[in-house]
Amino acid sequence: MSLDFVHEMSFASAILDAVMKVARENNAKRVKSVHVVIGNLLMLNPEQLKFCYDVVTKGTIAENSKLEIEVVKAKIECTNCGKVFDEYVGICDECGGILKVEGGKEMFLKKVEMEV
């Protein structure tokens, strides 16, 4: 299987593009660390994302920078009884109500630490 054959590669490239933009705007010489926030309902494996990030940053000023991933949880609750869930299970196990999902699909670059 090719290394690129994981969709984390697309996300890693998106991070790199954004990081390079911030680095250019600040005339950075090196990028030291990068902080991203990802929603827990994105189909993303943080370890694979880190691995892909290391691959895509090779040969750039972000090479060897640290990728910190903060996972934020979606708000999942029963529309009928209000029970709160950690994971999406579809139907409420207490009352059979439908679950409502808010968030969990966001992904943004929060902070970039650079040497200028």
């Binding site: 994981v6 697309s10 998106a14 030291k32 579809g90 992904m107 929060k110 650079m114």
Partner: protein
Amino acid sequence: MHRIEVDAEMDLLEENRRLAEKNRELLRKKNVVAINVMGAIGSGKTLLIEKTVESLKGYRVGAILGDVIAKDDYERVAKHGVKAMPLNTGKECHLDAHLVHHALEDFDLDGIDVLFIENVGNLICPVDFDLGENYRVVMVSVTEGDDVVGKHPEIFRLADVIIINKVALADAVDANVDKMVEDAKRLNPKAKVIKMDLKKGIGFDEWMEWLRCVLQSREG
């Protein structure tokens, strides 16, 4: 040299979202209903499109066939005499709005009523990439195991139609179709769930009924 820390607050998914909305707007202007056909490898996505092309009288169909490499799916659909285009991702395991945006630049949408966009076969990678479609159809088959629905909640949660194909083979592979249907309905109470066997003609009418209904509501 000194260190600085910059608060970026940049939305990393914005680009795909922007292009997906652009695609949706173009399709709306051309009065085309776009259907993202997602699902497991070998679940029957291409055959569903082929059979639909043959049966959907009164509407003109277009198809974009996504695959990592090879044009087999495209050739299968194109031989039915409809506008079709292969879309190879090269290495990526999913289509994204950017790829589809480029495909739509070359695809003649005039005179098309419905556009099927067959995604790369898998139940994980395509989930987070809106292509600008109007509906998502997710297809699996009993041969993938009757736990395949329950194991992939996110793709089913976001589907409009869930098709469980090859139900005639359920006994041979010891799959419990009812469990698959229950999982689908639990994960997505709003979706239309269809038990199907394309080769035996089971459930196909139900699918066509949904599709005609969608196309008619567009005209209304």
